[in-house]
């Protein structure tokens, strides 16, 4: 993974930069000791590491603005960081950058059930947003798998999704407003508790911009009333194709489940050995969850079971109790942990049109043989967001490189069939160099123009999203300036 050469002039001014930050911010907010900054050298994409110049952990929007103004004046790159759970290297530092972490900013600022929103500081974790409103039976819908740890700031940066977005949408569909500080240190208020933008939809472009347009410090989020109940059904099939056809038929029948999850045989076997959820041994398994009152759930599951039976399932298991429902989800929720027990793995995140599912799974199987690396598939089938897990041995020389090449081939396949490189994890550095497979030069140029507007000096979250060759001219212009 190529990274830009650190700016020697910045490295040589480290002590001055640290002094400026320490003079303007509370003492505990600035970390510069080499051993201490090492804790920030990577996020959840642990294959890449680089300790930053310094780390700033502000407590308020004003402190964020102060830190950014100093870095802007000194020409120091800034890497915004939430909880550091990015799987795409979205918060990977460079040696000449300052990490700006919002983890200490975790307050609830306002809760309004009449208008159905909550305003929080963005260091707050995803799950604790729901935690703040569940006593009134409300919840915050986007539910990434890392929700226990991940911060709303990172959710906004990556436009995070989750298992339930088939019905509730992703972060961008549940974000009403932000307080954002630009690289120049200007505090912007965008959107709010009302709906839609009065002018250009800046909120829409900020969400998913991977921390490259500004640092979001506060967010107004839509909260929803919890449904009366929810219940999953587990359906096993003897082929991936049949499972894929069943997904399509469920959707066509007019039922909108909140989640349709898919696991293939390698994934089923691994999770069963690990979690012992009592899954049937079959080629493909669907978990379909519906919501509503008991009678509404019965009716929807009846319809789904009817559709599934036309596809000769090897197993059709409706949860009859809360405990059974938990067991059905147990395997799916522990899939990644289970794979981790067996092996090192790399988790991908492409999206494909649902209709291409059988073909893509067949091709992944063929490629798995070509590369000599195993793959387990687990994904959100309702919206085509795949998470192939490629198994490799980190201690075997060359295995990681082989795995990365295989992963790139899978993602290219996703693009070929009409899908995209990343459905919910973001581009970061992980998919940066594949961007040209999905976008023509004019497409990337249009995106970079937006960055030019918000961050003309190109200091925010360097070396992410855009291939270095594509952004080179802009970056060099800034260094020259």
């Amino acid at each position: 993974m190529e990274m830009p050469t650190p700016d020697a002039a910045i490295l040589s001014r480290k002590s001055k930069i640290v002094e400026l930050l320490r003079a303007a911010l509370p003492k505990a907010a600035v970390i510069h000791d080499e051993a201490e900054v090492r804790a920030y050298e990577c996020d959840a994409l642990t294959a890449y590491r680089c300790p930053p110049l310094a780390v700033v952990l502000p407590a308020t929007t004003e402190e964020v603005a102060t830190a950014l103004r100093i870095c802007h004046a000194e020409g120091v790159p800034v890497v915004p960081r939430g909880s550091g759970t990015s799987l795409a290297g979205g918060a990977l530092p460079t040696a000449d950058s300052v990490i700006l972490g919002v983890a200490r900013m975790n307050k609830v600022l306002e809760t309004d059930y009449d208008n159905r929103f909550i305003r929080v500081q963005t260091g707050r974790t995803n799950l604790s947003v729901t935690g703040a409103v569940e006593q009134e039976d409300f919840f915050y819908a986007p539910d990434p798998s890392s929700q226990l740890a991940c911060a709303i700031a990172g959710n906004i940066a990556m436009n995070s999704g989750g298992a339930h977005c088939l019905k509730y949408g992703v972060t961008t569909n549940n974000l009403l407003g932000v307080t954002m500080v630009t690289m120049a240190g200007e505090v912007l208020e965008i959107g709010g508790a009302h709906l839609d933008a009065g002018g250009y939809d800046l909120l829409g472009v900020i969400c998913g911009s991977e921390g490259q347009l500004g640092v979001v410090t506060e967010a107004t989020l839509r909260i929803l009333r919890k449904p009366e109940g929810a219940r999953p059904v587990l359906i096993g099939f003897d082929s991936n194709e049949v499972a894929g056809a069943c997904v399509s038929d469920i959707i066509k029948a007019g039922v909108l489940p909140v989640a349709i999850e898919f696991m293939d045989r390698p994934c089923i076997e691994a999770t069963e050995a690990f979690a012992k959820a009592g899954y049937p041994m079959c080629e493909a398994l669907l978990i379909v969850e519906v919501e509503g009152s008991a009678a509404e759930i019965d009716a929807q599951l009846g319809l789904i079971a009817g559709i599934a039976r036309r596809h000769d399932p090897v197993e059709l298991r409706e949860a009859q109790s809360e405990d059974e429902a938990k067991r059905i989800w147990l395997g799916r929720k522990s899939a990644f942990g289970a794979m981790g027990q067996i092996n090192d793995y790399m988790c991908l995140d492409g999206t494909i049109p649902v209709s291409a599912l059988p073909y893509v799974l067949k091709r992944i199987g063929e490629m798995s043989k070509e590369y000599g690396l195993g793959v387990a598939n687990v994904f959100h089938a309702g919206d085509g967001n795949m998470h192939p897990l490629i198994l490799f041995d980190a201690n075997k020389p060359g295995d990681l490189e082989l795995c990365e090449a295989f992963g790139a081939d899978i993602l290219k396949l996703c693009v070929e069939v009409g899908g995209c490189l990343t459905g919910e994890h973001g581009v970061g550095i992980e998919k940066r160099d594949l961007m040209e497979t999905q976008f023509a030069p004019a497409d990337l140029e249009a995106q970079m123009r937006v960055k030019d507007v918000f961050d003309p000096a190109w200091l925010l979250n360097p070396a992410k999203v855009f291939p270095l060759s594509v952004s080179r001219e802009r970056r060099e212009r800034q260094v020259a300036a």
Partner: protein, 372 residues
């Protein structure tokens, strides 16, 4: 007037344009500051490119009549979730609304509170920018975070950043049944309170409106027939403290009522200017009291439609408030004098102007329509 037949023709035309252009789809939404320029019609870029009911996705060229898109979806028991308003009656226009026009204006209807706006269902765009460059963003899949989201930026940008050539949507199943619950005689404050209770219930209300002139507060439930019956019953119980509830279940009558609301038919053909104001729902009654004209409320109280005497500068009357007010219908002279779109705080206005300058360096696309 020019009317390119292909995207590449449009690209050449824009690259070689000598002066300002007024971009139109079906020409049914003459909103914003009047634009002086040659008419550029995208009606020639028409047709559904791809429709996969099993994947809930449809892709169409921007000039495709909305009716054609809706008919194709209806044939498969699906629909656009966001219930786009038809502006013809209110604005006194003719012609056929296009799917590109719906996106350019980010047009939604009563269901916006539950299903999101047009921009929330929009998953991909192709457009030609002011320099003639062809740009694509998003795609045909629902889960997509690859690169910056220019799809949202294009939605509601009224053709000022680029001319849309193709749009892709996530669609949803059309429900089997629907019901309207109607409460009578509530004050605006009581109505907003009742709607907040309804929208905060687990019964999935897909419309919540209050019509002061009719003295009616309306709630909509949609879904499978048995489920609608059950939820309408539960919701009626929940609404009991606010007075008697009437339930209307005839599919035709329910559809007709919400269409009239969606299209603000009450103000069609009535003298005066029409403003559209978006605020936090509980702020609705207070804002309405400051308007002093005829009003109706949608989105649980958060969307106010106001009919005021011609030439009224409503923003001056409202003073500072959290939200935005759009002058939707007025004489061209009025729309030239009073900013049709809510003026933004200086830093945001500067960002908007910079975006406009970079996507349309010569300022040829609908110049002045949104911001002077």
């Amino acid at each position: 007037m020019s009317s390119p037949a292909t995207e590449s023709e449009l690209s050449e035309m824009l690259a070689g344009a000598k002066g300002p252009l007024r971009v139109v789809g079906g020409g049914t939404r003459p909103v914003g500051r009047p634009v002086a320029g040659e008419v550029l019609s995208v009606a020639g870029l028409s047709g559904i490119e791809l429709y996969e009911p099993g994947a809930l996705t449809i892709v169409a060229k921007a000039g495709t009549p909305l009716a054609e898109v809706e008919a194709a979806l209806a044939a498969e028991g699906q629909r656009l979730p966001f219930e786009p308003m038809d502006h013809r009656a209110l604005l006194g226009t003719t012609g056929a609304p296009t799917i590109g026009g719906v996106v350019a204006a980010n047009v939604s209807g009563p269901r916006r509170i539950q299903a999101g706006a047009c921009r929330d269902s929009l998953i991909g765009v192709r457009f030609v920018d002011g320099s003639g460059a062809i740009v694509k963003n998003g795609g045909r899949v629902m889960k997509n975070v690859t690169g910056y989201d220019l799809v949202k930026l294009m939605a509601g940008s009224w053709g000022t950043l680029g001319v849309l050539t193709e749009v892709a949507f996530k669609v949803l199943p059309a429900p089997e049944a629907a019901a309207t619950l109607s409460l009578a005689g509530l004050s605006e404050l009581q109505a907003v309170e009742a709607m907040a209770v309804a929208l905060g219930s687990p019964f999935e209300v897909t419309g919540a409106a209050h019509l002061p002139e009719e003295g009616r507060t309306l709630l909509r439930i949609e879904g499978f027939a048995t489920s609608v019956a059950y939820r309408a019953g539960r919701l009626a119980d929940l609404m009991a403290p606010f007075g008697g509830v009437e339930v209307e279940e005839g599919a035709e009558a329910v559809a007709r009522r919400w269409q009239a609301l969606r299209d603000v038919e009450a103000f069609a053909g009535q003298a005066g200017d029409v403003w559209r104001i978006s605020v936090k729902p509980t702020d609705g009654p207070g804002i309405a009291a400051r308007i002093g004209g005829r009003v109706m409320f949608d989105w649980g109280g958060g969307l106010i439609w106001a009919l005021v005497p011609e030439g009224t500068d409503l923003r001056a009357r409202l003073g500072a408030f959290a939200g935005h007010a759009t002058l939707l219908r007025a004489a061209p002279e009025t729309r030239g004098r009073i900013a049709p779109f809510q003026p933004e705080p200086a830093p945001l206005a500067a960002i908007a102007a910079e975006l406009k300058r970079r996507f349309d360096p010569r300022g040829i696309l609908n110049p002045g329509l949104m911001a002077a």
